[in-house]
């Protein structure tokens, strides 16, 4: 197993190998059109040891954990949970995705937007 896949299993408790590529996650994902790689394909890439490719995609940062794919996944691979693990691989190295100085609407946005973005996009 590749290093990325090991970490995904450790952080998420989910097993990407259980995925049989039904594509339900990509069909229900509200964000799929903004992603470099659709969720089902990201899981397939993890299976074949191309986790590093998924890590460098925008997919994991576009996902907002709405839990649609998690509720509907027939194999409990739960791509939305796997993506959290993939985000953590980067964030736990101290690399933040969100740059506070670049948020133009930081004053007017509801507090919870900033807190939740911090939870998902910073370590």
């Amino acid at each position: 197993m590749s290093e990325v896949l090991n970490r995904v299993v450790e952080y998420s408790g989910k097993n990407p190998y259980a995925c049989y590529q039904c594509g339900t996650c990509s069909a229900v994902c509200p964000m799929v059109r903004f992603m470099d790689i659709p969720p089902h394909r990201a899981i397939r890439l993890l299976q074949i040891g191309a986790g590093a490719f998924v890590l460098s995609s925008n997919t994991i940062w576009i996902c907002v954990s709405c839990m649609r794919c998690v509720d509907r996944c027939p194999r409990d691979v739960a791509p939305g949970v796997v993506f959290e693990a993939l985000r953590l691989i980067t964030l736990r190295q101290g690399i933040d995705k969100l740059k506070y100085e670049e948020i133009s609407n930081i004053e007017e946005a509801p507090t919870l937007a900033i807190v939740s973005a911090s939870r998902k996009l910073t370590g």
Partner: protein, 268 residues
Amino acid sequence: MINVKMLYYPGCSVKRNALEYEKKTLEILSKIGIEVYELDNWYCCGAFYSLAKDDLMKHIGGLRTLIKAQVQARKHGTNKLLTLCPMCYNVLKRVNHMLRENPENLDTLALFMDEEEKYTIGIEVLHLLEVLRDNIDKLKRLVVTEVKDVVVAPYYGCTVLRPREIAFDNAENPEVMDNILRALKIEVIEFPFKTECCGAYQSVFNRKIVFEKSGEILEEAAVRGANIITVICPLCKYNLETTLLSLGKKLRIEIVYLTDLLSRATGP
């Protein structure tokens, strides 16, 4: 009338961005006989439930809030904890659920806390919509004026309906809000985009996504003849409103909190 007591956790955004939502909601709740006690010295619930299995520390905000509620539950004689913000509801209910399923996690989390008492998993987390649903008959009796010239598209967002273990209605076609509005004789449209994503916190990261996603919700509501979208979440409201603004004056539609509209029917 027998009054029902409830503890109340407002959360950051209700107090900073949605004071009117809170005011109107508390007015309506008091009219239907619900006594609300805001938690003392409450703090952040965490806003987003952490999905990492190996990092329990991120649940401490939620757990501390629940323990605070437990302490004050004894004082007020109720174990019900009301939330208005769906994100708070989502986090607190999921933390509660996680602890019930894995009580051993409670011991691990206790290692991070010195001052707090042990949590007995006895708090019941409720969202405003559930409370209104359970008091629909009392709400009906409050109606003083018919709300005219209003056609509503009810918009739920995602966090009160997903994941399924914490949902209080069907995630595919929720009807709680529809039924509350209909009970108050307010016209409601069939709205297939009622649980479509507004873009969530991408409003501070990648706003183009929010404008596109929220834009579709607004346009669908307008096409179906709605002139009001009712919301329950400060973030949904912000995303829909800023998108509406970015569209110029193209759409004649107003984004209002559900309880704001209800109070138009029930009077001051």
